[in-house]
């Protein structure tokens, strides 16, 4: 893959739920090694976009190209080994499992499942398990939660649970990480740490696509920002340009003199 060639490219993606058009003709290209922000008011279609990229939803039309392959009808679980991992807007951890086991599930596609070895209790199963645990612990160390690895996920604070999801996504060893509102519900210091973590990831060569409401966080960390409103892309560019874009200001704050207030 040549430099500058997009790692992820959406071509004319549309998604309709009955009469509601959640996404309409979205074109998007993500440059490898960058942090790409997606913003937009509530209901703009950001999470739908993620669900389409990860395969949980099938678009009505359009094509997704990831690292040169068209994703087409590939089911979600087969997109992970291609290098795609995500977190969720509303935390979706395995709550009654401990933190380490949560992260180990992220490793699923990278370790074999030696069925016979497991049943007969032979060496390979334990060796693979130890290897997987090493990687999982390394991911937990990255988010600073190694000390919590034996705790049940449900017993962690909200911010910590977000970090565990983050570690679980890292364990999938992705090329592209999709973060759905990672900073929501975090306090100021947790946000600062998250910011640091995201830029570290970029420095390590990961590509990050980020949905976020926290404008300050986005402006600080993103290389490119795409703005969605009512399922359409209304602006795209470097943070400074997007912030001053009239359509963006209109979408967030309303147009001056417009009397449609309350209808959107």
């Amino acid at each position: 893959m040549g430099q500058g060639e997009p790692i992820l490219e959406l071509k004319g993606i549309s998604k309709r739920f009955g009469g509601l058009t959640a996404l309409e003709g979205i074109n998007l290209s993500v440059t490898p090694g960058t942090v790409h922000g997606v913003i937009g008011p509530n209901g703009a279609g950001k999470s739908t976009l993620f669900n389409v990229i990860t395969g949980l939803l099938r678009p009505n039309s359009g094509e997704i190209v990831f690292r040169g392959n068209s994703l087409g009808r590939i089911p979600p679980h087969r997109r992970v080994p291609l290098g795609l991992a995500r977190t969720f807007q509303n935390i979706r951890l395995f709550k009654d499992m401990n933190v380490e086991d949560n992260v180990l599930i992220g490793q699923h596609v990278h370790t074999p499942t030696p069925v016979l070895s497991i049943i007969f209790g032979t060496q390979p199963a334990t060796e693979w398990e130890d290897k997987a645990k090493e990687v999982a612990d390394a991911c937990l160390r990255k988010v600073g939660l190694e000390s919590k690895k034996s705790e049940l996920a449900r017993n962690l604070s909200y911010g910590q649970q977000k970090l565990v999801e983050f570690a679980r996504a890292l364990a999938a060893q992705p090329e592209l990480i999709l973060l759905d509102e990672p900073a929501a519900g975090m306090n100021v210091s947790e946000k600062a740490e998250l910011l640091h973590m995201i830029s570290t990831l970029r420095d390590e060569g990961y590509t990050v696509v980020l949905i976020e409401h926290d404008m300050k966080l986005l402006m600080n960390v993103c290389d490119t920002i795409t703005v969605l409103n009512h399922g359409k892309k209304i602006a795209e560019g470097v943070p400074r340009m997007v912030r001053n874009h009239p359509d963006v200001i209109a979408a967030y704050l309303g147009k001056g003199g417009d009397v449609r207030a309350g209808t959107c």
Binding site: T54, L56, P75, P76, H77, R78, V80, P81, A85, R86, F88, R92, L93, F94, K95, D96, M97, D101, L104, I105, G106, H108, V109, T111, T113, V115, I118, I119, G121, A125, W128, E129, A132, R168, A169, A172
Partner: protein, 337 residues
């Protein structure tokens, strides 16, 4: 260091004592009726281990476990009676055929969750029972199969309650061993992830459909093995033994014993089998008692009886700790004087 070695060897001793106790049961319990009950407990616990893997670990509630149990019983009995297959071949085949049934029911069940899945499994159990009643040329209909041969190994026939005890509990031990290994492995972890959040598991790369089918196959195979032993153990099999009530009974054992634990299956089988004997005088009214117990379990101890272990252990260690700190205070006060 030395004391650590001692405690670990003591722990090893624990295991041997347990094995010795189990092995001596048939010599201590001389009442054949009680021994018969103990043997039934073993057979039921195998069924419930399978159910725990399916329902407790993977979260796929099944109320058709008696159906798999029936498939195992009839497969093995027919193979032994019509083809003179040896018991162990019949048992392996019973496991395989039951597992195939598990896969077949799993495929439509993949898209179902919660109450819809329960309804589908209830339907499956009923279909099996109706086939057994109506496929007269093979299953002998409602009259059932009689004269199912006893297991024999190398010319030694397992016939008495005592010899059945050893056969059954050898299989139970093996069943527990395999189930524990599965549950503590990557497979068990993946099962649990599906129970906790199927969509998240799918998004992390877990082929959830394959794992759900596997869970059904494992759950059914355990019931199949249990069914094979059950047929030879009782010598007869009729559709009456594999009704919806029996499926509910297995589910009760699973929930009351604790369906997220392999040993819970054993605890649940013991509790419910003994309870049903104690309540025999109430006849069909005992279902009321079951219902009440199930309800209370669901409300007050969702982890079942096996869930009480950790709670009890913590309680005891806290008391010990409290007592110790109390003693320390007393001691320091005395010193202070």
């Amino acid at each position: 260091m030395k004391s650590h070695k001692l405690t670990s060897s003591l722990k090893g001793l624990h295991k041997w004592v347990l094995i010795a106790v189990v092995l001596s049961i048939p010599f201590v319990v001389t009442n054949l009726y009680y021994l018969h009950l103990i043997n039934l407990i073993g057979i039921y616990s195998l069924v419930v281990i399978g159910l725990n893997i399916l329902s407790g670990y993977t979260g796929q509630v099944s109320m058709g476990q008696a159906g798999f149990f029936a498939v195992g019983t009839y497969t093995s009995a027919l193979l032994m009676m019509k083809l003179q297959a040896p018991f162990w071949v019949a048992t392996v085949m019973a496991a395989i055929v039951a597992a195939i049934f598990g896969v077949v029911i799993a495929i439509p069940a993949l898209r179902l969750t919660g109450p819809y899945l329960v309804m589908a499994t209830v339907g499956f159990g009923e279909i099996i029972r109706l086939v057994l009643v109506n496929w007269v040329p093979v299953t002998k209909g409602a009259a059932g199969l009689t004269g199912i041969p006893a297991p024999s190994f190398f010319g030694f026939t397992v016939f008495s309650e005592r010899s059945f005890f050893y056969l059954i509990y050898a299989v139970v031990a093996l069943g527990i061993l395999v189930a524990v290994r599965i549950s503590r492995s990557k497979i068990g972890r993946t099962f649990m992830a599906i129970r906790e959040d199927e969509l998240a598991a799918e998004s992390m790369g877990v082929p959830t459909n394959i794992y759900k089918v596997a869970a059904f196959a494992i759950g059914a195979a355990y019931a199949g093995v249990a069914g094979s032993i059950f047929g030879s153990f009782s010598g007869v099999a009729s559709p009456d033994g594999f009704t919806f009530d029996d499926s509910v009974g297995f589910l009760c054992m699973s929930v009351i014993g604790g369906n997220r634990s392999i040993f819970g299956a054993l605890i649940g089988s013991i509790t419910l089998t003994l309870l049903s004997e104690l309540l025999r005088f109430m006849q069909s009214y005992r279902l009321i008692v079951y219902g009440a117990i199930l309800l209370l379990t669901a409300i007050f101890m969702p982890q079942g009886l096996s869930g009480l272990g950790p709670i009890l252990r913590e309680f005891l260690s806290r008391r010990k700790r409290d007592k110790k700190s109390y003693d320390d205070v007393q001691c320091s006060q005395r010193k202070g004087r």
